[in-house]
Amino acid sequence: MGDLVPDAETRPFWDGIAAGELRLQRCEDCERAVFYPRALCPHCFGDRLDWVTSPGTGTVYSYTVAHRAFGPSAGDPPYTVALIDLDEGVRMMSRIVGGATVRIGDRVELEITRLGGEESPALPCFRVKESA
């Protein structure tokens, strides 16, 4: 699966997912969370970024139910792709697993999932915890 390309900056994130943890960067200068991983803080341009482990809780900012799938990693539609606002204040794209109907404002929690079966990479997906 060619969608994951861990590199010098992003490998700690993917290693964390493989180990069952959602790791985010945190800027030591402005103390804000940073996602995705990078060399400079996009908030303050600081270069002192540390890794912290996120509890993996957040809120659905938006979602779509894909009825057509494009690309090798898409899987069988329909499925729900969502933008999750993590409680640390960063937003990430993800997949909602667990089958619940999704609404904006739903509270969600991390569920690391191999979407393409056991041979596929572990991905940070989310499950609805509390409906809006």
Binding site: R68, V81, P121
Partner: protein, 384 residues
């Protein structure tokens, strides 16, 4: 604005649009370039600046210059998706004002339909894409669907309001013999078309076509030699807010909120001065968000703005008068066709076809969008 050396669009042309397996991305640009220069009465050797966007070469400007036999002194390969060409026009105008160039050629060509590149497997993810691609969002429609659902949530907007945009575009397309889809559609047709990525249906989505276009821009010193009515570039603005939709700060506010006011301020015009709008319509939601971000109405009110045929033929704010990307053509990066149509309207090229011509049009706002609501570029054009 006084004292500057003015720039105007003096020639426009498209190549064949639709399905054109007999053309390549290069021959499309060649045909459009020849026609646009011929319309202006300019020769290839008059061109001293070349503006190109696309993903079909490691360096499109170099490939196209060689292919056309041009030796430009000024090159710009700014590639910000479908808004590239409005950006090129702004950059060409700045270079003309600065005295760096006299005649610029802006071109685009695509064979995405014939070679099925739109639905082809994408190359492996790189760099930042690794945080989006694994989740299977159908691109680009899924990104616009995320924006549409958020917009619905915040403002109580509906699929019916989105559908009005497609219905209006189709009414304009019915007047354009070159439009790919000309049969009338209704709001119910849009809502009844297959769901692609909820809440966007098939008829909320732009076409997938081949096509190419060219725009020739000239400094005012050259206007006396030109065979067409010059369409002056009065203002320009451009910006980007994100690359991935996951990093868009607010899914309901686009970069048009910056590029639009910048272009209108430079042009010295207000919303009420404008006679027509050419607004990038990759999806119906693109238009509603853009109208609000440009300031034509308040947040959440674009559905009302486009209702009752206000932007359709005969309406008081004609928009996407060739049928747009939704019904005319959309070869992937649609922005050059916005410029071509606005130019023709401001020259009154359709004067003999009253329903198609926006009567007495003097001022147009042209707005390009690129990526997944990622970049915007706005220009204001005026009949000189």
């Amino acid at each position: 604005m006084t004292g500057r050396r003015r720039a105007a669009i003096v020639g426009v042309a498209e190549s064949e649009v639709g399905r054109t397996p007999h053309l390549t991305v290069l021959s499309q640009q060649a045909r459009a370039s020849k026609a646009a220069l011929a319309e202006a009465g300019l020769r290839p050797e008059d061109v001293n600046a070349l503006f190109v966007a696309g993903n079909w070469s490691w360096a499109p400007a170099l490939t196209l210059a060689e292919y056309l036999g041009l030796r430009p002194d000024y090159l710009d390969g700014t590639n910000i998706g479908g808004s590239s060409f409005e950006a090129h026009l702004g950059h060409a105008t700045a270079a003309i004002e600065a005295g760096l160039i006299d005649v610029a050629l802006i071109t685009y060509g695509s064979t995405q339909r014939s070679n099925r590149s739109r639905s082809a497997p994408r190359p492996p993810a790189t760099l930042t894409e690794q945080f989006d691609r694994p989740f299977g969002l159908p691109q680009p429609v899924g990104a616009y669907a995320l924006a549409a659902n958020r917009y619905f949530h915040q403002y109580g907007a509906t699929g019916e309001q989105l559908a009005e945009v497609a219905v209006s575009a189709r009414q304009w397309a019915a007047l354009n013999p070159d439009a790919c889809h000309r049969d009338p559609i209704t709001v119910d047709d849009v809502l009844g078309s297959p769901m692609i990525s909820d809440p966007l249906h098939l008829l909320d989505c732009c076409l997938v076509t081949d096509g190419g276009g060219a725009v020739v821009v000239a400094a005012e010193d050259r206007w006396p030699d030109i065979g067409t009515h010059p369409v002056e570039v009065l203002g320009h603005g451009e910006t980007t807010t994100h690359s991935s939709i996951a990093q868009m700060p607010d899914l309901t506010v686009t970069g048009a909120a910056r590029s639009g006011p910048a272009a209108m301020k430079m042009a010295g015009v207000t919303h009420d001065d404008l006679d027509l709008l050419e607004i990038y319509d990759s999806f119906t939601i693109t238009v509603l968000l853009t109208l609000e971000s440009l300031g034509f109405c308040k947040p959440g009110e674009a559905g009302e703005f486009v209702r009752l045929g206000r932007t359709a033929p005969g309406g008081d704010m004609p928009m996407n008068t060739n049928g747009g990307g939704l019904s005319y053509t959309h070869p992937g990066m649609y922005g050059i066709f916005l410029l071509i149509e606005a130019t023709r309207q401001l020259r009154h090229d359709f004067a003999s076809d009253p329903p198609r011509q926006v009567e007495g049009a003097q001022l147009a706002l042209v707005h390009g969008t690129g990526g997944v609501l990622s970049s915007t570029s706005t220009v204001v054009l005026g009949r000189s």
